[in-house]
């Protein structure tokens, strides 16, 4: 190595919650080591979970930015390379290559996030299907909806109700469905599973959520939200009579049913963005595999957030939620500041933002034996506990008026 007058920086790739929080926590411990943050987007800081409930709160994309990139840079005293793609990582030479040059690092943090899973669709309008996984995506989605709202106002009366087809009845699909229905859109949710949030909820809770969402916003019995479960969207085409005031798209389901749609939103899940890590030769499975100190298979390269897989290749898990990111960022910041620290995740219940039926879910670890049992039936709302073979509580679901009992349930759980 050549001798340099300034110490090598910590380089962070990605300016989402994981990247920015790592930088912020690191600066609390180390105010002098240079930090270089490289991001493909603007670097503006925003709360990603708000993307799926911004409509009901009448918030435009620009209003979702809580701290502009320039302000983050100034406050945290770092260097930001915005709108910059990393071309390569050399784990041996300890460098990162961008269009701006080759940057040597002391430690490298991969906070590259996740990409929406997109299934191949037939049809000439398949490319018009949107996904929302970033503020930039949200701006496109918001503009598309705003355009059709304008059209709606101009043609009051005979205009067809605006109809959105949501692919995916998981967490993000249900949150968007609730948000869109609240502000007046008709929504049809399509999912191959037999019920909403099938991966997280017991059957009874799915049924309650579907019923609550069906009636969101509209008059009683209006059923503003429709469900097409056990099916998938197989093709999306331009509607033949789109110019005559009809919806511009037709989404055709696996059973042949055509759904006229003003917009098709794909929300079928996320997969870790491991592209850079794979190209650099790092071990990846469902995410970039990290150890308890969040180090990847390469020395001095770390990963966290939606791009990381916590634990080993076979049994490790991805945790694409806010609370795990906060815990991981704090531990990683300490490690980067010279105090090697293992991340310890407490029980981290997830609050699902479906105001039609608020839900708090503490899912049991994958592979836990046992099943959901309805509990505390005399209390308000609905409650389920996951009991294993020995009767130990391993998870819980709280629905509706039960969600305030979260604090009482958490101590009962053995994660």
């Amino acid at each position: 190595m050549t001798t340099t007058s300034t110490p090598l920086p910590v380089i962070v790739i990605g300016a989402g919650l994981a990247g920015w929080t790592t930088v912020r926590e690191f600066r609390r411990l180390d105010s002098t080591t240079p930090v270089l943050l490289i991001t493909a987007d603007s670097g503006d800081f925003y709360a990603k979970p708000t993307l799926s409930n911004a409509f009901a709160q009448n918030r435009a994309p620009a209003q979702l930015v809580t701290t502009a990139a320039a302000k983050m840079v100034e406050t945290l005293n770092i260097t930001l390379l915005a709108h910059t793609h990393v071309q390569a990582i050399d784990a041996t030479a300890r460098t990162v290559t961008t269009a701006q040059g080759v940057h040597a690092y002391r430690a490298l943090v991969l906070a590259t996030g996740a990409l929406p899973i997109r299934l191949p669709l037939a049809g000439h309008a398949a490319a018009q299907v949107l996904s929302v996984n970033s503020l930039t995506d949200f701006a496109v989605f918001h503009a598309a909806l705003t355009r059709m709202s304008g059209a709606d106002t101009a043609h009051e009366g005979g205009q067809h109700p605006r109809h959105i087809v949501v692919m995916g009845a998981g967490l993000i699909g249900c949150e968007f469905t609730n948000d869109l229905a609240t502000v007046g859109y008709r929504v049809t949710v399509v999912d191959p599973s037999p019920r909403a949030l099938a991966a997280l909820l017991p059957e009874g809770a799915s049924a309650q959520l579907q019923a609550a969402l069906s009636n969101t916003g509209g008059a009683a019995g209006e059923a503003r939200v429709q469900w097409r479960l056990g099916r998938t969207v197989v093709r999306v085409d331009a509607a033949p009579n789109a110019n005559a005031g009809q919806a511009p798209y037709v989404a055709t389901l696996s059973d042949g049913e055509p759904l006229h749609a003003d917009l098709v939103l794909s929300a079928i899940g996320l997969r870790a963005d491991t592209r850079l890590a794979l190209a650099a030769g790092l071990d990846c499975a469902r995410g970039i595999v990290v150890d308890a100190q969040l180090q990847t298979s390469a020395h001095n390269i770390y990963a966290l957030g939606d791009s990381a897989q916590y634990g080993d290749q076979a049994t490790g898990r991805t945790l694409p939620y806010v609370m795990p990111i906060m815990h991981a960022a704090k531990a990683l910041a300490a490690t980067l500041a010279g105090q090697p620290t293992e991340v310890k995740f407490p029980l981290m219940p997830v609050a699902i933002k479906t105001p039609a039926l608020p839900l708090v879910v503490a899912a049991p670890a994958p592979g836990t034996s046992g099943g959901w049992i309805r509990t505390n039936e005399t209390e308000p709302g609905s409650e389920w506990q996951w009991l294993d073979g020995a009767g130990v509580v391993r998870g819980f679901v709280l629905a509706g008026a039960a969600t305030p009992r979260r604090g009482k349930l958490v101590p009962l759980v053995t994660p």
Partner: protein
Amino acid sequence: MTTYLCIVCGFVYDEAAGRPEDGLAPGTLWAAVPQDWACPDCGVAKADFEVVEI
């Protein structure tokens, strides 16, 4: 009564509603929320909330 937004996850603290499950009765002003209270959704500290008007 004012509403506060967690800048990290979007959790909303509404003074009028309080947060009874955390021992914060309806009407508890933001100033009276303990400094060690953290966002129930993401664990961020009280200091990282900001005022929003919704």
